[in-house]
């Protein structure tokens, strides 16, 4: 039986009727057409599906959409303000933190969440915060540098 749920995604409220067995990843992608959230494994191992759920980055492939009823969700589509990129997006672009880009939405959401909690993280703290987001392309270095540079820019 489908359930009617309310999700506030990127500050827009949506009412959706969903079957209980659909994950938040599926509903974001298939019902709300927010395709920036990726699925790389479906079982919590990779972090490609990361979204911010009530202020915390989580694996949306392991959240039932019905469990998120009434929650506020931020996806990669909600990180920039219109045309102007978030500082983390800016530094990801400028410093080469993006290669294939499949991990990028999740990385950026983990990174922005970190900076909200801890505006001036050490390199080790950045690596800790990103340790649930796998990246096969970059070796992480430019990602870590981008997060640290964004932290510097956000100071001002």
């Amino acid at each position: 039986m489908k359930k009617l749920i309310t999700l506030t995604v990127n500050d827009t409220e949506y009412e959706v009727a969903v079957a209980p067995n659909r994950t938040l990843t599926q509903v974001l992608r298939e019902d709300l057409n927010l395709l920036g959230t990726k699925e790389g494994c479906g079982v919590g191992d990779c972090g490609a599906c990361t979204v911010v759920l009530d202020g915390k980055p989580v694996n949306s492939c392991l959240v039932l959409a019905v469990q998120a009823d009434g929650s506020r969700i931020k996806t990669i589509e909600g990180v920039a303000h219109g045309d102007s990129l978030h500082p983390v997006q800016e530094t990801f672009v400028e410093l080469g933190a993006i290669q294939c880009g499949f991990c990028t939405p999740g990385m950026i959401l983990s990174a922005t969440s970190l900076l909200e909690k801890n505006p001036h993280p050490t390199e080790q703290e950045v690596r800790q915060a990103l340790s649930g987001n796998l990246c096969r392309c970059t070796g992480y270095q430019k990602i870590v540098e981008a997060v640290q540079e964004a932290s510097r820019r956000m100071k001002g």
Binding site: N21, T23, G47, L62, L64, V66, Q67, G132, N133
Partner: protein, 298 residues
């Protein structure tokens, strides 16, 4: 792409309502907490509950509070709340440490302490620390409530004394005696997203800073069907004056207490050797903390 099988989903507003529901479902219902264990198993098809009962709306299960110098932790407190809690860090740092070893930050934001206990995985990260701390768990059913010591909770890999109609509501950790220190070390391949090859938690209580050991607890994880006490090691430590030699002796005894198997994460022989290494290391750290502390902290 992995799909979930079909099931119903309920979100009772109170514990009694939830207990009534579970009772009515007669074993076809399952509690879902963070879902980080359950949903993976359901996607793989190893469990197929007809109905999931979420306790998300039961506020009381989400509290951490102090209790007689000890701690009461609601079953739905997340692992990251435990890892980040000042209260936990100041009373039971070993619990915070073990929480910060679990999975990844993303998993920790969903996974709960109750789920970590009820899954009864032999390699689960919180049980060893909870066992050295002497934790008890509160189990509530529609008609009966009980509190059991975690020591008697696990019965095998994936199994425990909890019944399908029961809910684990909270974990109670007694106040630590003075001059107590503890440690938890998890050995895995990667630095994150790892299930332990071997993990050990130890706790020592001294009668005074440079005194003898009056209480010793050594828990071995991933080397037996459940987390176990290294009974002979604990016995050998009791009443003794702490020293590296003593710890080395205890570590060897702990190896004898373990019964590891060879599986995809590691071989039995290596696991035995690691019991040796990790018991020594955790005892040393526990001792240093016990000695340095005015008491109360573990």
């Amino acid at each position: 792409m992995l799909l979930l099988p079909k099931f119903d989903y309920e979100e009772p507003k109170s514990l009694p309502e939830a207990l009534a529901m579970l009772s009515e479902l007669k074993g076809n219902g399952k509690v879902i907490a963070g879902g980080t264990d359950l949903l993976v198993n359901m996607k793989k098809g190893t469990v197929r509950p007809a109905c999931l009962v979420s306790l998300k709306k039961v506020e009381a299960l989400r509290e951490i509070s102090g209790e007689d110098g000890g701690l009461s932790v609601g079953s739905h407190v997340t692992i990251s709340e435990i890892a980040d809690s000042d209260r936990v860090a100041s009373t039971f740092p070993v619990l915070a440490r073990s929480a910060s070893c679990l999975g990844s930050p993303l998993i920790r934001n969903r996974a709960t302490i109750g789920g970590n206990i009820v899954t009864a995985r032999p390699a689960a990260d919180l049980p060893p620390a909870l066992l050295v701390l002497g934790a008890r768990v509160e189990l509530r059913g529609k008609d009966k409530d009980r509190t059991v010591s975690l020591d008697g909770f696990f019965t095998g890999p994936g199994t425990s004394v909890i019944e399908t109609r029961e809910v684990l509501t909270r974990i109670v950790i007694p106040s630590p005696p003075p001059f107590t220190g503890a440690d938890y070390i998890k050995l895995g391949h990667r630095a994150a997203l790892e299930i332990a090859i071997v993990a050990v938690s130890s706790r020592l209580t001294l009668d005074k800073p440079d005194g003898v050991i009056v209480d010793a607890r050594v828990i071995l994880s991933s080397v037996a069907p459940t987390a176990i006490h290294a009974v002979s090691a604990e016995k050998a430590l009791m009443g003794q004056r702490p020293s590296e030699d003593l710890f080395a002796k205890a570590a060897l005894l702990a190896v004898g207490d373990s019964s590891p198997i060879t599986d995809i994460r590691g071989g039995a022989e290596y696991r035995r050797d690691m019991v040796n290494t990790l018991v020594k290391r955790t005892l040393l750290k526990a001792f240093n903390d016990a000695r340095d502390m005015k008491g109360g902290n573990a």
